[in-house]
Symmetry: C2
């Protein structure tokens, strides 16, 4: 598999990877993880089957590369100037992603894959670690400025913003509307201010 | 399908239902929703195929009945005398269920079914509504006693306890340990005290 940084942006290798990853997304959205097949992905991407087999080798490796790409392509952290503003922006991003028909179907397929396949689960955990690390600095700044108690775990605060949105998406079926995103951000800030996320 | 209350407890009809639902659980844990098949469930339950087809008819109806049974069989609400104690008990129950190998596999299968099948999703939403309504009174009492702000939505508080545990279970892969359950309960209480769950 190609390591990040070893491919000239816009080169043929990068174009092949982009086409294959988009084809893998299409296949996941249409048929789910069980329907993901390297030969089918090669056909959809109009790329030689041998190229796909040589470069990714297995469906799990292809999914792992797709999740790496999704983490890299995701929107960068917002800088609104306030903790609540930043966490609202984060909640809004998570909400829009899960509520979007294509992105939502893609996340469902990836989460189902992770429930059934340990390599897919490891790739999904890396995806969340990357995204959480991207947003953690807004909490770190609030701790440094005394807005949150010393010792607050920034990663736990970011996860607390996502959790109620994923719970609606996967379990309760409650609507993923803007009010839900706003509530997720406000509840995380309130709990963090009260010291709930101070490391024990 | 048999309505609750129309079957004598311990009668033959109830025994058949219990055997079929346990067999459906076994099949879901072993093979997932895609592997659920009425003829296979009848064989596992040692019940006539015709009985299973006549009484449940479809895999989705069988899953809906299983979720009704799971909601009815779940542990009743604890009465610890304090809001934090009650929500800790609730978080502990959710955590033990998801961390248990058999129950966890069953919930993954049911959640995957709900992601793929609208009737399964409706049955899962009913399951969560029942469980949340069972635990809501401990929040209602805290509101009545002035421990939480007037207008706090009890259902949102109960969901806030579950959400971080489901997020670990399905998305981040972080451990479902007792510290996670304790954090879920403390964060929900802190956010509720700060007024985050007051209905707008």
């Amino acid at each position: 598999m190609t390591e990040p940084g070893t491919v000239r942006p816009g080169g043929r290798t990068a174009r092949v990877r982009a086409a294959v990853l988009r084809a893998a997304e299409d296949a996941l959205v249409e048929k789910g993880f069980d329907g993901l097949d390297l030969a089918d992905v090669a056909r959809r991407a109009e790329v030689g089957k041998t190229t796909v087999y040589r470069r990714w080798g297995t469906v799990a490796a292809l999914l792992a590369d797709l999740l790496t790409d999704m983490a890299e392509q995701s929107s960068p952290r917002a800088e609104t100037g306030s903790l609540l503003g930043d966490l609202r922006a984060n909640a809004g991003l998570v909400r829009r992603t899960l509520a979007d028909p294509r992105q939502g179907a893609l996340f469902k397929a990836v989460i189902i894959a992770a429930a059934c396949d340990e390599r897919a689960a490891a790739a999904l955990r890396r995806f969340y670690r990357t995204r959480i690390a991207e947003w953690a600095p807004c909490v770190e700044r609030a701790v440094a400025q005394g807005e949150l108690p010393a010792g607050t775990d920034p990663h736990e605060v970011i996860k607390a913003v996502s959790a109620p949105l994923y719970y609606r998406f996967l379990a309760s079926g409650d609507p993923l509307d803007e009010a839900a995103a706003d509530l997720a951000a406000r509840a995380a800030v309130a709990a963090a201010r009260a010291g709930a996320y101070v490391r024990p």
